[in-house]
């Protein structure tokens, strides 16, 4: 079918979104940082760690997607 690679690419994007969400929530929800020197709110530290994990996940997602894009569309995007 003409353009079937585009459907495949969208499907792979969707799978990556679902898989990324499951991994992100599983990892980030397991992070519990106890109070530091009893002065700082532990929520703040755990939030920083979660934010870093989430941003790292997005960066990995974009990297993997660009590799898959090159693989799926190698003929079309070859200049």
């Amino acid at each position: 079918m003409k353009g079937s690679q585009i459907f495949l690419f969208i499907f792979i994007m969707w799978i990556l979104i679902i898989a990324g969400c499951v991994l992100l929530v599983t990892i980030s929800e397991s992070i519990k940082i106890q109070g530091y020197l009893t002065l700082e709110p532990p929520l703040f530290y755990s939030s920083i760690v979660k934010a870093i994990i989430a941003i790292t996940f997005v960066a990995i997602w974009v990297y993997v997607l660009s590799k898959i894009k090159n693989w799926i569309f190698r003929r079309q995007i070859k200049h």
Partner: protein, 329 residues
Amino acid sequence: MPDQIIPAILVSAIAFFSVYISIPFLIKVLERKNLTVRDYNKLNGQMVPRPGGPSIIMGIIASELVLYVFFPKVEIIAILATTSIAFLVGVLDDRKTRGGWFKPLGLAVATIPIILLGAYQPTLSFPIIGHATIPLLSIPIIIFIIPITGNTVNSIDVLNGVASGFMVIAGCAITLSLFITQNYEIAIASLPLIFVSLAFYKYHKFPSRIFPGDSGALTLGAMYGVIAIVGHVEIIAAVAILPAVVNSFLFLSSMKRIVEHRQIKNPVTHTEDYKLAATNEKDAPITLVRLIVAKGPMTEKEIGFFIFKLAIFSAFLTIITAFMTVVKI
């Protein structure tokens, strides 16, 4: 639920007919003021009035205000305010082409009402696994969503009828998802997005009698984004616009920077019978349309319908994602 049926029918009718009736008048006004642009994909280079944004925002404001009478919710005010600011950003860009950063920055400003009104949840709903709370990221995510949805919809406004037709399909997907997640009032608030887009599609479809312009495309995209935020379906909403996300992703990964689309080389060229074909220009960006025509030239209408097939496929994945969000493991 039965007491929500009348407002749902009423706002849908107001959204549809206010655009459907006002567009012919807007076309006349735009033609009289010589606000027309060339349709480069037509053999005779026909001049088409632009922008259709004023009719689109009128339909949205009228329908959402009526809905507010039934459901005085802060989320509806957020939809109205954010969408209106996005429209103004689009109007400024329609009047004078600005740098590539203008629209993302302007749309980031449009998120201020959502934040000030507190019309968002500090958690994100994920499929299968449930909610996650990342307090530090909740506001940055909101600030990113509206520029992404606005510019993503604007980036597919390249062929007759594509942006409006795409928004009809994506709007149906997000509305159904809101019903599945039992967020009925926001689902009704999203109905104007479908019906405004549908009425505009009547005039925007091939051969276009009017173009939405930045004011129209950004308005539809921003409304989609704000519904995703206030309806707490951000992840689900991302799935529905995957074909447009693919377009932006291909564009950015080939250009390596944010650039105004009028400043780049055309990724497609025309054959003798005026079909669209992939260009051989080495520094032209890779876009969704360029990939679609990579295997051979197609007419503008054929490409438009192919994009709609992609949108329907994504809508199907959206509904599955919505069910996955409701069912928790």
